[in-house]
C-alpha cells in the first residue's frame, strides 16, 4: 500500500516536471518503506525505466519526441550510469544518504527560487 502511494506521488511529480520521479521514489522508499539506501536506489531505477517507457510511448503518439536529441544526452548517460552504480557499491550507506540529502536540498532550492 505504501508502495502505491509512493508510486502515485512519483508519477505526479514526474508529470509536472518532465522527470522520471526518482527524486521522490528514493527518499520515500527509505523513509516510509524502510528500504536500505542501495536497494532503494536500485529499485527506483527499475521503476523509473517503466515510468519513462510508458511516458515516452504516450508522448510518441503525440509526435513530440526528438530521438536524435534524446540519444545525444541519453547514450552518454547510460555509460555514466554504469560508472555511477559502480561508484555506489564503494560508498557507505551513510555517505550515500547524506550526499543524496544534499542533492535533494539543492533541487529544493532550485524549485523555490
Amino acid at each position: 500500500m505504501r508502495l502505491v502511494v509512493i508510486g502515485l506521488l512519483a508519477g505526479l511529480f514526474s508529470a509536472l516536471f518532465g522527470v522520471g520521479g526518482g527524486i521522490v521514489v528514493v527518499p520515500l522508499l527509505i523513509l516510509l518503506a524502510h528500504f536500505d539506501e542501495r536497494p532503494a536506489m536500485a529499485t527506483s531505477l527499475a521503476a523509473i525505466g517503466l515510468i519513462a517507457l510508458v511516458g515516452a510511448v504516450s508522448y510518441g503518439f503525440h509526435g513530440e519526441l526528438k530521438p536524435g536529441a534524446a540519444a545525444v544526452v541519453g547514450l552518454p548517460a547510460a555509460v555514466g550510469a554504469v560508472g555511477g552504480t559502480w561508484l555506489q557499491q564503494r560508498l557507505t550507506s551513510r555517505t550515500l544518504s547524506l550526499a543524496f540529502a544534499a542533492l535533494l536540498a539543492a533541487i529544493a532550492v532550485w524549485l523555490l527560487v
Binding site: G7, L45, L50, I51, V72, G83, A108
Partner: protein, 127 residues
C-alpha cells in the same frame, strides 16, 4: 558541434548521478535539451523520458548484478506512478506552475532534512 559535445558531457554527468543515486537524470536532461540543444519545453520533457530509458536500463542492469533490485516493489511503484502521471497532467492544467514548484520545493526540503537527520542520528558504524 560544441553544443553536441557539451550536451553529451552533461548527459554523462547526469548518468553518473542517475546510477549513483537511483534517479533517472531527467532533472538535468530537460534543461540540457532546452538550453543547449534548443528544444521547446514540451519536446524536451518528452525527449527527456526517452533519454532516461537507456540510463535507467543500464543502471538497473548493473544493479541487478549487484543484487540490489527488488523487482516486485519496482513493478508496483512503476504501475501506480502511471496513474499518478495521469492525475498530474490534470492538476498541471488546473493550478499555476509557480505554486506547484513552491509546494514541491518545500516538500523536498523537508524530506532532505528528514533524511539527513535520520542518517546523522544513527551511529556511524552499526555492529
Amino acid at each position: 558541434m560544441w553544443a553536441l559535445l557539451l550536451a553529451g558531457l552533461i548527459g554523462l554527468v547526469a548518468g553518473v548521478l542517475a546510477g549513483l543515486f537511483g534517479v533517472g537524470g531527467g532533472i538535468l536532461f530537460v534543461p540540457t535539451l532546452t538550453l543547449v540543444l534548443g528544444l521547446t519545453q514540451i519536446h524536451a520533457e518528452a525527449s527527456s523520458l526517452l533519454a532516461i530509458l537507456p540510463t535507467a536500463a543500464a543502471g538497473a542492469w548493473r544493479q541487478r548484478r549487484y543484487g540490489n533490485v527488488r523487482w516486485r516493489p519496482a513493478l508496483i511503484l512503476g504501475l501506480s506512478a502511471i496513474i499518478g502521471v495521469e492525475a498530474g497532467v490534470q492538476i498541471a492544467e488546473a493550478l499555476p506552475e509557480h505554486a506547484l514548484r513552491r509546494l514541491f520545493g518545500v516538500l523536498m526540503l523537508a524530506v532532505a532534512v528528514q533524511l539527513a537527520w535520520r542518517t546523522l542520528r544513527k551511529p556511524p558504524y552499526p555492529s
